[in-house]
Amino acid sequence: MLAKRIIPCLDIKNGMTVKGIKFLGIKEVGDPVELGALYAQQGADELVFLDITATHEGRKTFVDLVKRIAQHINIPFTVGGGISEIKDAEALLNAGADKISINSSAVKNPQLINDMARNFGSQFVVVAIDAKHFDGDEWIVTVNGGRIPTDKRLFPWAKEAEERGAGEILFTSMDHDGVKQGFANEALSKMSSELSIPIIASGGAGSMEHFKDVFTHGKADAGLAASIFHYKEIAIPDLKGYLKNEGINVRL
């Protein structure tokens, strides 16, 4: 049976792992390769590395870092942050990335999803969506780390991304991110029913129970979190043992 995936996310700035709270107030927490290898050894199913460096110099550093990650880590990993052209994706593929995630650049230019899928295959393309709850079923898609609202709505945009060739959706609820009160399970469940590609849930993990809820109520295929792993609030082996006891199929 296909296992539910646990995915630690590492935000990278100038080659170091960082974690922001509600995308602000950034703190440094460690070496990405070392931390990634540790998570892989502890049973992480995949890793996500998001480059939040804005400068051109930093981008080059990131490609070098991706190569080091690919050399040392024997589980799949996704890289994202600032990818807006085919050549950005190609550099990361050649460095050894298994998947790329695109976010703001896909909102600005949805055709990019088609181009990426045609060039590299859907399995390589994760469309990340940051959204804020508006009213009822309505969620507003935001860009630039949640700072700028767009005219897109979450559910139609996720469906469009799938139709354009996305292989997975990584949905972050900006209302839940950093608050540690659980994932946006209702919205996740709706998205999972409407789409036929896997959904990675992000934003809100604060306890082991939150992961159980995101897989049962939220119907997510994977749960992503950062700070609870980085700050050792939850150890991955404990989390997976707990989920197995709760009847969730995980890889031990």
């Binding site: 296909l2 296992a3 050894g96 029913s193």
Partner: protein, 199 residues
């Protein structure tokens, strides 16, 4: 020991190379026919689209070369699918090493369990029965990412359940193949690659 990794126009070939580096095995990534023919073993990796990749193999005269290899060959993911007779992806005749059809997963209707395509993530291998696997690998998790599959048949060397039980691995004579990615399957995947290297 020298392993040739067949180079082609798509996919994360680098990760196979890194996996062999971690195992300390000498290898090259190449399209050179002599280098491939003279290697001790050949890996035919892959992520990509079937019909465009078959076209590339033909243009580079790699299709006949692969079929006629005598040393152990390991096809991975798309590599395994291209070793079959035909793929629904782009409706293309393939290499025909395994007399099997490659079909697209169909999401069941109704779909109460919300089964997704692609089949992406970690799933188990059972009924393992080739030299790629020792009995300790029965029931272990490996990493898959694919939307097309090969049904179970006479060459099935491992089975995985998803929508239906399908061939997670194939074996015939000197040809071995896995639908999953051993190079991305953690320590379990490393053991499978080591078993191939030891053949």
């Amino acid at each position: 020991m020298k392993i040739a990794i067949i180079k082609y126009n798509a996919g994360n070939i680098r990760s196979v190379s890194f996996a062999l580096d971690r195992l300390g095995v000498e290898h090259s990534i190449t399209t050179n026919p002599e280098e491939i023919k003279n290697a001790d073993k050949v890996i035919f990796p892959g992520v990509g689209e079937a019909s465009s990749t078959m076209k590339y193999l033909k243009e580079n005269k790699l299709d006949q070369l692969i079929v006629n290899l005598k040393q152990p060959v390991l096809g991975i993911c798309l590599g395994m699918q291209l070793m079959c007779s035909h793929s629904e992806e782009g409706d293309v005749p393939c290499l025909g090493i395994f007399d099997e059809q490659v079909k697209k997963f169909v999401v069941p209707k109704p779909n109460p369990e919300l089964i997704k395509v692609p089949h992406m993530g970690w799933n188990t291998i059972t009924e393992v029965n080739s030299k790629l696997f020792d009995e300790t690998l029965e029931g272990e998790y490996v990493y898959f990412v694919h939307s097309y599959y090969v049904a179970r048949g006479e060459h099935t060397a491992a089975t995985t359940p998803y929508i239906l039980p399908f061939s997670a691995a194939l074996h015939k004579d000197n040809f071995y193949a896995t639908q999953f990615h051993p190079e991305k399957s953690g320590d379990v995947g490393s053991r499978i690659l080591e078993n191939f290297i030891k053949l």
